[in-house]
């Protein structure tokens, strides 16, 4: 299935780009992050991240579907 991933903050620096569309068979958001972290050397563990699927917060166990848009959210620091 085709997935769109947007990167922000530290993950954007580590990936070196804002957004990409990839082919993946990852069943869940968690599986997808593990795949990408291994490929790109992301240093943040999932315990420090949240995940959004289709622009809303989601569980790491959310099953992914073709066309989903995924964002891994580094620790926020507004204000």
């Amino acid at each position: 299935m085709k997935l769109t991933i947007q990167y922000f903050a530290l993950l954007k620096d580590q990936r070196g780009l804002d957004e990409e569309t990839i082919q993946s068979s990852a069943a869940t958001a968690n599986d997808l992050y593990q795949e990408l972290a291994q490929t790109h050397g992301f240093t943040l563990p999932t315990t420090a991240l949240k995940v959004a699927v289709n622009d809303d917060f989601a569980s790491w166990e959310t099953p992914l579907a073709d066309g989903d848009s995924i964002v891994f959210i580094p620790p926020v620091a507004g204000g």
Binding site: M1, Q6, F8, A9, L10, D13, A27, T28, D31, T43, L44, A48, A52, D55, D56, F57, A58, S59, E61, T62, P63, L64, A65, V71, I73, P74, P75, V76, A77, G78, G79
Partner: protein, 171 residues
Amino acid sequence: MGNPTRRRRLHRLHPPRSRRLIPQPPFTIQTSSFIISKDPLQPEELKRELLDAHAGALATFEGWVRNHNEGQPVDRLEYSSYPALANKEGQRIVAEAFEKFEIDAAIAQHRVGLLEIGGIAVWVGVSAAHRGAAFDACRYIIEEIKGRVPIWKKEHYSSGTTGWVNCHQET
């Protein structure tokens, strides 16, 4: 791993707890808004929007860029956001404040982009008939923004290095 399509169907019938607890838009928002702004924030204009003959109390909060963080001198800050979710989450927070406190109006704005020392990064204003509610709601909104809204802060230190706040790693 199972079949993703089948799991998704089940998931729709029984959404996970974390999704069910988050209220979905549209909210019943009175005079209220949350905006991520690329332009400098204008406290005076925002205050005028909150002015209402009924209200007696206005509590506001401004967050300014500080010249230091954890002992390191900071020259400027760069805020970035995940706009689609940041706006939605910010609006949820303001809507929650209306549910929790007896307030008349609330506005919150967060700046993104490059800010100099002394620039306003965030502004929250709440008007209410009574001061207790105005203070409580203002504080609730800023605490929740800081904890929940996907906004990140990159510090540019006087030493020439930069760091993502809360990520415990310099880049």
